[in-house]
Symmetry: C2
Subunit: 214 residues, 2 copies
DNA sequence: CTTGACTTTCGAACTAGTTAGTACATTTTA
DNA sequence: TAAAATGTACTAACTAGTTCGAAAGTCAAG
């Protein structure tokens, strides 16, 4: 019958695995770990369930691979932002906007993290790859804060991890809680105007917090 | 009707339902909608699975009842805070601290909301009870902002829903992302010292944001 | 180019355990 | 008596993971 034409099969293990991971990412992000169906993932793949178990061993193994891949992707994108030649305030704003844009562009990642939290980060704990991560962000923030403080732009001595949390919280929440928040307040958080306002808002808030002292 | 203190006979529908809801809340919060097991809930109850279906019809029905109950509980606790005789700044700080304490004290609620977001708030949409909620908070915030602005304490004209989101984001994130954040940064967000610092931090951030204008 | 060991892929039926939901009988209450 | 509440045992469907048996691609050495 149909479409796939000849059975011109090529062995491309990398592509097969990537294909599975891509489909699985969406499935897990949409349905959660328990809610996702291996059969459903297999069907949407260009390969079969057999292959999923061939490469990933189990549903949990697949989930963990999905999680690791998502984090690895960030680490790559979280490029060295060349903040050192910017003023402390400009550097901070750039950093914040980058976080904002990242979360906005990667709702699947945000949801995977939410799911992982529901499971008490149990899988993340087992993955060494993920644990030693994000440390670089903290060092970057620490540097910017120090610079700002010694220049007298920032009057408040703040903990870099706290600042990172404040930024993450805002950016993450907008995406993770988009649906309940949108339902209750009848406001579409993914709308361009709202998004732009929020993007500036979190930056203004953090900056004014660091500049103030009371 | 009446007294709960009676020599309760075996039939006590209210208590049975409440018992089921209590157990189910924890189970759903811990395992998610798909991950929760009706049999597991039944076992932890002083009644049986039969009763779950008798009162709630289905697993989803039970989940929805749990969700509604959680929201109703907040509305009750979210008492009129008597903010009108406080200065705008003090009123805002009180409001923020109340939100902070609420989320901190109700991790199950926070997780249910997270779960509901994973499901695109589909159940919440079907529940009229939940939708027309939280409007009062916005009105409260709007009042405080207006007062502060006209008194010249707040120099920035901000949208009350945006401000509510900023507060919610911070308070919610600390609880919802406690595990992944804690794992990555090796920091226990439920520790007393950290908690106290964050409690003041979000208040300072919002206040300084409203006082600034650049 | 050929050979042969090894890896990758296909597929589809099968199973063993689980799980949401039910039938039916029984007890309690009004 | 009727209606509401409860207990026990069941089932029909689902689902993660397997089994068996291939066939086709890859790669290095001869």
């Amino acid at each position: 019958m149909a479409g796939s034409g000849e059975n011109g099969r090529k062995n491309d293990p990398k592509r097969t695995q990537e294909d599975i991971l891509l489909v699985a990412t969406e499935e897990f992000a949409t349905h959660g770990l328990a809610g996702a169906r291996v059969d459903a993932i297999a069907e949407k793949t260009r390969t079969s369930k057999r292959m999923i178990y061939y490469y990933f061993g189990s549903k949990e193994g697949l989930y963990l691979a999905v999680l690791e891949r998502s984090y690895r992707k960030i680490r790559t994108l979280e490029a060295d932002l060349l903040l050192s030649n910017l003023s402390p305030e400009a550097a901070l704003r750039t950093l914040i906007e980058t976080t904002f844009d990242h979360d906005e562009a990667n709702p699947d990642f945000v949801r995977l993290v939410s799911i992982e939290n529901i499971h008490h980060a149990a899988h993340m704990l087992r993955s060494e790859a993920i644990r030693d991560l994000n440390v670089s962000v903290i060092e970057t923030i620490a540097g910017v804060l120090d610079r700002g403080f010694s220049q007298g732009v920032f009057r408040r001595r703040a903990d870099p991890i706290d600042i990172h949390m404040m930024i993450s919280a805002f950016c993450f929440f907008r995406v993770s809680n988009r649906y309940t928040f949108g339902t209750i307040f009848r406001r579409d958080l993914s709308e361009a105007a709202t998004m732009g306002r929020h993007r500036g808002m979190i930056a203004d808030a953090v900056v004014s917090y660091l500049k103030s002292d009371d």
